[in-house]
Amino acid sequence: MNKNSSIVEMFTMTLNEDYRFPIPEVFAFLYAFGTFVLSNPVSISYARTGEHLAYDFASSINGLPMFFFTIFLFKNISYGIGYDLERGIAQTFFSYPLRRRQILTIKLVSALGLATALLLGVHVFSLLILVPDVLRKYFFTVVLTYVVDLCFPFLLSGFLLLVVLVSKKSGLSLAAGIGAYFLFSMLIIPIMLSSSPESNLGLKVYSVFNPSIALHMYYNQSKSRVWIPSFSEVLLYVAMGYFLVALIFIVGYAYFQKRLEL
């Protein structure tokens, strides 16, 4: 018996559930709307050149779509995984000849992978339309900006995954995820206000969880007097951020495989 066909079948079934009409259409619209209408590339200082300009463009069009993207991930995890656990559908899936880790991988690739591909797909085309030269010349900077900006939503998704697995409640976990998102996003305000060049540890710690702050500080050295990280420092924060993402998902996998009881 071909186990790959079982995986493919299960994957298509999961996609069918996660991306039922009109969910992907609505989010694709929100990404495009957020990119072209609500984001503010006009505010970008054209006095800036080179990779600074590339960063400004990429991070500017990322603002609102990244919020929609985070909500999309939360919805996929809390309803794609949480709802199955809550309603007992997971029990049916556990009677299929698939390993637990395979089931979770299928669920996560559908929930996170496809949502990310949708966002990046919309944004690659947006950048090609808006600033084709910048994308071509400073491809690495644009990619780095996306890698950095995606870290925080992925980290929160990992947290949400743990809440879902432990609570087995879709609504509760969605509320916990959104709560954590807003709490963490607001936290930057007191941290920034209380930081100074002599005392910026809070900002550094925050950057471990959300390395886009470190990248922002790096590309806005003239404005930022509180903390000016070097490029290698930025890369270190990105690595630490993704290490946390990996760690939280490893914990999720271990729990799903060894401890999750239905």
Partner: protein
């Protein structure tokens, strides 16, 4: 004798509460085995450990001689029917079964075959969410059959069904066991219902096996006569009768007591009751006897245990 399921000394705690404590039994190939017990006896917990979605705190369960926790290969040989059938509801009946066929590497036409087998032909294009409770349970059985399993484990499959649907489902189980040689483990809290289809029983209460074995052997071993004595002093009489060493069960209501005794001691009990009544000054207005069904015995045993507690 081949055992498809071997449960040995299973223990499962939820917090400090033991849902199952030291449960051991086997399910023989080709049998229809009933796992019976009142609500909260530990049936679903036991079934979940057998299916591999709960891990026992202690003891061991083997299905097809393998540990069912995350063992993928044995699932080709096991079908599962849950008390509350849970499927993604956005599918039509035939669509979902065809997907299940592909997951198990079975040809697509198998979906139509199983619908015919369970009597759901004609409902192929109905959405799953539009099925009645009875039809949904039949769909669940069809889903458990797509990969032609050797063993079907069903947790309270008749719980949400009306009497007619219940009868139909049990007849289907009998037919599948007879014609396809499928082994069944079925849990229920209704012993009478299962005694219609099962040839073996595991009767559990409070997470422990109360009695187990082939149905005929169980009835012979536990054969008990019931004597109902109508009296004006049921409480006092019951208290004294309980003291007789050979009496297995005593239950009092407002105007009578029900006494359970083994067949051997049946003849002694009449004279003893009359003696006790005389001493107490109780008036006996009638005595009648019958043979206890397994169901009655079980109920008495459960009640006795609760009284002791």
């Amino acid at each position: 004798m081949t055992y498809l399921i071997e449960a040995h000394d299973l223990v499962k705690y939820y917090g400090n509460i033991a849902a199952v404590s030291g449960l051991s039994f086997n399910v023989e190939e080709g049998s229809v085995t009933g796992l019976v017990g009142p609500n909260g006896a530990g049936k679903t917990t036991t079934i979940k450990m057998i299916i591999g979605i709960l891990k026992p705190n202690n003891g061991q369960v083997r299905v097809f001689n393998e540990d069912p926790w995350d063992n993928v290969d044995i699932r080709y040989q096991i079908g599962v029917v849950y008390e509350r059938a849970c499927f993604p509801t956005s599918y039509k009946v035939i669509e979902y079964l065809e997907r299940a066929c592909r997951i198990f590497g079975k040809p697509k036409y198998r979906a139509k075959e199983v619908l015919l087998e369970v009597g759901l032909d004609g409902s192929e294009n109905k959405p799953i969410k539009g099925l009645s409770a009875g039809m949904l349970q039949k769909f669940s059985v069809a889903h458990a059959l797509v990969h032609e399993p050797r063993l079907i484990i069903a947790d309270e499959p008749t719980a949400n069904l009306d009497p007619e649907a219940r009868g139909n489902l049990l007849s289907l189980i009998l037919k599948l066991n007879r014609d396809k040689k499928i082994t069944f483990l079925i849990s229920s809290h209704i012993l009478f219902e299962l005694s219609r289809v099962c040839n073996s029983m595991v009767i559990i209460n409070r997470g422990k096996v109360w009695a187990s074995g082939k149905l005929d052997d169980l009835l012979n071993k536990l054969e008990t006569k019931l004597v109902r004595v109508s009296t004006d002093k049921p409480e006092e009489l019951a208290a004294e009768v309980k003291k007789l060493s050979y009496v297995a069960h005593v239950e009092a209501d407002v105007r009578s007591i029900l006494i359970g005794v083994t067949s051997e001691d049946y003849n002694r009990v009449y004279s003893d009751i009359l003696d006790i009544a005389k001493k107490l000054g109780a008036k006996i207005t009638g005595m009648e006897s019958s043979t206890a069904s397994l169901e009655e015995l079980f109920k008495l045993a459960v009640k006795n245990e609760e009284t002791k507690r």
